[in-house]
């Protein structure tokens, strides 16, 4: 059984064993996944906010233009 590729904060390698075909142990894979999910959710949140802001600007602009006409 191979041990995990991750290096811990104290500079020592992670003692956990990896599943077949993996480079990292289940804990670090899940940890990386949780971080990726967090980034993804931040990006998705940002896109949603930007989308809402853009929609708002568009609606305000449309309202102003319709008033001027």
């Amino acid at each position: 059984m191979k041990t995990c590729k991750e290096i811990l904060l104290d500079g020592k390698p992670c003692p956990n064993q990896v599943d077949e075909g993996q480079e990292y142990c289940p804990f670090h894979l899940a940890d990386q996944d949780a971080k990726a999910k967090k980034k993804f959710s931040i990006a998705a949140g940002a896109v949603t906010v930007l989308g809402l802001v853009a929609t708002g600007i568009y609606k305000v602009a449309k309202f102003v233009v319709s008033k001027k006409l």
């Binding site: 142990c25 289940p26 899940a30 996944d33």
Partner: protein, 327 residues
């Protein structure tokens, strides 16, 4: 790898790899050493040798495994033996220098069976000691946390505690039997009901993990593992008291059967605990405890089979066996 090769208790209480252990030997604790010295005192040849040894110096009596093997085979064959196999070697404890060899062929079958019983008791005491350390390793981290699943096992322990203070031997025996039943039932129920299969349902690859219904899989594993861990603790506790109870009744064979009945289930349990460890943070304070559990929560029944292959070593001073001249 079988249970027995995984952990060995060092004098300082550390659990180490079996490969680093000393050659097989039974070293008696003080109480059993005194009992063994009583047996040695009844062997005239040993008393004669002890009289010739220097006063104040410490010697070692080394009883070869062949002696215990012969005991196991049946003491009826003792009379036919005259090849020095059944002998005690006496050496200087400091230098290891050979002092004398004492033939044990004059030992009566009763004495030999006492010797065997003593070796069995010491082996059981070693097993209990190993389980105590395992229990402590888990307890240190679990401290203060309640465990409902322990109830049945706790009840068995309470009955055992009542048994050891009972003055009437019949009541004591009855309570011990009742405690053993409770402990056996509690342990079996725990082994059968523990939900350890959650580990098989966890996603193993990146994509599976990303689309898993658990937002933080590590947190999910930790919450599930905590329950399993508490149940493992109860199993260790039950095993420890079962060994003590069987030992008190001097029934090592019943202990052996009780352990064999749950061995395969416990092996599966331990393997899964080993898998759970890889899902925990390397800095988690559970880690060591869980790793220890994965190496063995049951006493090693083979320890009892191996008694006849072990050398008995007892240190003594000549006056402990042979009173000084003029006394």
């Amino acid at each position: 790898m079988p249970n027995k090769d995984n952990i060995v208790i060092q004098p300082d209480g550390e659990i180490i790899s079996h490969t680093a252990s000393q050659p097989d030997a039974i070293v008696f604790d003080e109480e059993k050493r005194q009992k063994l010295i009583q047996i040695l005192r009844q062997i005239p040849a040993i008393v004669d040798v002890a009289k010739r040894l220097s006063e104040g110096k410490t010697y070692k009596a080394i009883i070869a495994p062949e002696a215990l093997e012969r005991i196991k085979e049946g003491s009826a064959r003792l009379d036919k033996i005259d090849n020095g196999l059944l002998s005690t070697t006496i050496r200087d404890a400091k230098t290891g220098r050979f002092i004398d060899r004492v033939n044990l062929k004059e030992v009566t079958p009763d004495l030999l069976s006492s010797l065997n019983q003593l070796a069995t008791q010491q082996t059981l005491a070693n097993i209990v000691h190993r389980l105590e350390i395992l229990d402590e390793k888990i307890n240190d981290v679990l401290q203060g946390q309640t465990n409902d699943r322990l109830a049945e096992v706790e009840s068995g322990i309470h009955i055992y505690e009542q048994a050891i203070v009972a003055s009437n031997p019949d009541v004591r025996r009855e309570l011990l039997v009742s405690a053993m039943q409770q402990l056996n039932d509690g342990r079996t129920r725990l082994i059968k009901s523990t939900n350890i299969s959650f580990i098989d349902k966890l996603p193993r690859n990146r994509l599976g993990k990303f689309f898993s219904r658990y937002w933080d899989i590590n947190k999910h594993v930790q919450s599930k593992a905590e329950l399993v861990w508490k149940e493992a603790h109860a199993i260790v506790k039950a095993s420890r008291y079962l060994v003590i109870a069987y030992s008190a009744l001097n029934e090592p064979d019943s202990l052996r059967v009780s352990l064999e009945q749950v061995e395969s289930e416990v092996k599966f349990f331990q393997d899964k605990m080993g898998e759970i460890v890889n899902w925990l943070s390397p800095t988690s304070n559970w880690r060591e405890s869980l790793t220890t559990i994965s190496q063995g929560v049951l006493p090693n029944i083979r320890d009892l089979d191996d008694i006849s292959q072990k050398t008995i070593i007892v240190e003594f001073q000549p006056k402990e066996i042979a009173p000084p001249e003029g006394v």
